[in-house]
C-alpha cells in the first residue's frame, strides 16, 4: 500500500490506452512515484498484450512477404537511415556549348537554393523540437499541479473530519532530530507529515505503521518517500479493519515494498494522547 487509492481504479484503463488526456497526465505524474501502481501496471500490460496475441492468426497474401522484405532491406542496414531515390543520370547531347554552361549554372543555382531550403528546414525542425519539449514540460507541470491539488483536497477532507485524532511522533536514536505528526480519522483516513528523516541505504524504504488501541501487532499503513531535505508527507486510507489508532510508528524496511511486520526498531513513534 502506498498512496492515493483512487488510482487503483484507472491502472487497467491506462494500460488499455482508454484514459482521456487529463486523467492520463495525472496518472502518469502519480505513476513515477508509486511502486504499487507500477506493479499493477505490469500486470495489466500482460493482459493487454495477451488480448492482441489472442486474435486469430490470419492467412496472409502470398506476395506480402517478398514485398515486405524488399521494402525493409531497401532501408539499408538495421538502424541506418532511409536511402533516397537514385538520381536520374542526365545526359546533355547538345552541340550548343552555351546551353551546357547555362545548365551547369542552373544546377549550381538550384543546388544553392536546395542548400538554403535545407538549412531553413533544419532551423524549423529545431524550433519545432524546442516548442514540443516546452509543451511537454508545461503538460507535466500541469499534471503535477493537478496531483498536488488532489492531494490538498484529500488532506482537507481528513483535517475536516469530526472524529479527528492527532498523534505526535518523536525521533529515536537513529533519527533523534526527526519529528512527525499524524492526523487520523476513521472516516477520511490518515494524514502524515515528518521532518528530519535521515536518508536510507540503497534498497531500504520508510514504512508507516499503526497500532489500534489494545492490539499487539503493528499494521502497515504504507510507505513514505522523504524528499532531499528529509521531509515526508502522505495521505493514506486507514488499513482495512482498523477503526481507531493508538500508536503510530515509522521504521526502516527492505524495499521496494516494505515488510508485512516491522523488522527494525522505530525511527519515529508516538501514541494518541501521549
Amino acid at each position: 500500500m502506498t498512496t492515493d487509492h483512487e488510482f487503483d481504479d484507472v491502472v487497467g484503463a491506462y494500460a488499455l490506452g482508454a484514459l482521456d488526456a487529463d486523467e492520463r497526465a495525472a496518472f502518469e505524474a502519480h505513476l513515477r512515484g508509486c511502486v504499487r501502481c507500477q506493479q499493477d501496471l505490469a500486470q495489466y500490460r500482460r493482459v493487454v498484450t495477451a488480448i492482441g496475441a489472442g486474435v486469430e492468426p490470419t492467412a496472409i497474401p502470398e506476395s506480402l512477404k517478398a514485398r515486405t522484405l524488399t521494402r525493409v532491406t531497401q532501408r539499408g542496414a538495421p538502424g541506418s537511415a532511409v536511402v533516397g531515390a537514385p538520381r536520374e543520370a542526365r545526359e546533355v547531347r547538345s552541340a550548343w556549348s552555351w546551353l551546357q554552361v547555362a545548365a551547369v549554372l542552373l544546377v549550381g543555382i538550384l543546388g544553392a537554393y536546395v542548400v538554403s531550403l535545407r538549412s531553413t528546414l533544419n532551423a524549423l525542425h529545431e524550433e519545432l523540437a524546442a516548442i514540443t519539449s516546452q509543451a511537454n514540460s508545461l503538460r507535466q507541470e500541469l499534471a503535477t499541479l493537478r496531483t498536488q491539488q488532489m492531494q490538498m483536497a484529500s488532506t482537507l477532507e481528513v483535517l475536516g473530519a469530526t472524529d479527528l485524532v492527532r498523534v505526535e511522533l518523536r525521533g529515536t536514536s537513529p533519527a533523534v532530530v526527526a519529528t512527525g505528526r499524524a492526523y487520523v480519522s476513521r472516516e477520511e483516513g490518515l494524514v502524515f507529515t515528518a521532518t528530519g528523516l535521515p536518508s536510507l541505504a540503497e534498497g531500504r524504504v520508510y514504512q508507516l505503521w499503526v497500532i489500534p488501541p489494545g492490539a499487539a501487532a503493528p499494521i502497515s499503513a504504507g510507505l513514505l518517500v522523504p524528499d532531499a531535505s528529509g521531509a515526508a508527507n502522505a495521505i493514506l486510507p486507514l488499513p482495512a479493519g482498523v477503526t481507531s489508532v493508538g500508536t503510530v510508528a515509522v521504521t526502516n524496511e527492505p524495499g521496494p515494498s516494505g515488510s508485512p511486520g516491522p523488522t527494525t526498531s522505530p525511527f519515529l513513534a508516538g501514541t494518541a494522547g501521549g
Binding site: L16, A21, Y44, G52, P57
Partner: protein, 192 residues
Amino acid sequence: LDQKATDRIEGADADQRLVRDVAAGSTEALARLYDRHAPTVFGLARRILSRLEDAEEVVQDVFTQVWREAGRYERSRATVAGWMVMLARTRAIDRLRSRNARPDQRAPESPEMSEVVSPSWTPEEVSISAEDVRDVRDALATLPENQRTLVELAYFEGLTHMEIAARTGVPLGTVKTRIRTAMTALRGVLRP
C-alpha cells in the same frame, strides 16, 4: 489457441536468437521472424482495419520497425510475440485514426496511439506466456457482453473513455466502471 500460435509464443528462445541475428543485419533471420509472427500481426491489423491494403501496410511497417530497432530490443527480456503485437496494434490504430479523421473534424486533443503507448511502454515490461494468451482470451469470451464490447472498443479502435461514451451513448461513469470491472476480471486470471 491452436498449436501453431502456442509454438510461436513458446519458441521464445528461438525468437531471441532471430532478433539478435536481425540486429546483426541478417535478412534471413528477418524472413524467419516474418514466417513465425506475420500471421498474428496481420490478423490483428485486419481486426482493427477494414481495408486489406491498410493491414498489409501495417505488416510492412511493423517489420520495418523490427529491422530498425532489433538492436535496441535485443537487450530486453520481453517476448518477441508481445513486442510484435504491441507494434502491430499501435501502427494499426494510428492508421485507423488518420483514416477516420477528416482534417476539419479531428479532435485536437485526441492523441496518436503511438503517443499514448510509446513513452511509458517499453518492451522489457511486456513478457507474456502462451498460458496468459489462452487464459485472457477465454476470460474475455466469458465477460458480460456490455463489458466486453467496451474493452474491445478501447483495444481494437483505440477509443478513450469519453470517445466510447460518445460512440455508444453509455454514460461516462458507466463506461469507466464497466472497463474497470472487466480489466480487473481479466487480470484476475493471470498466473503469478
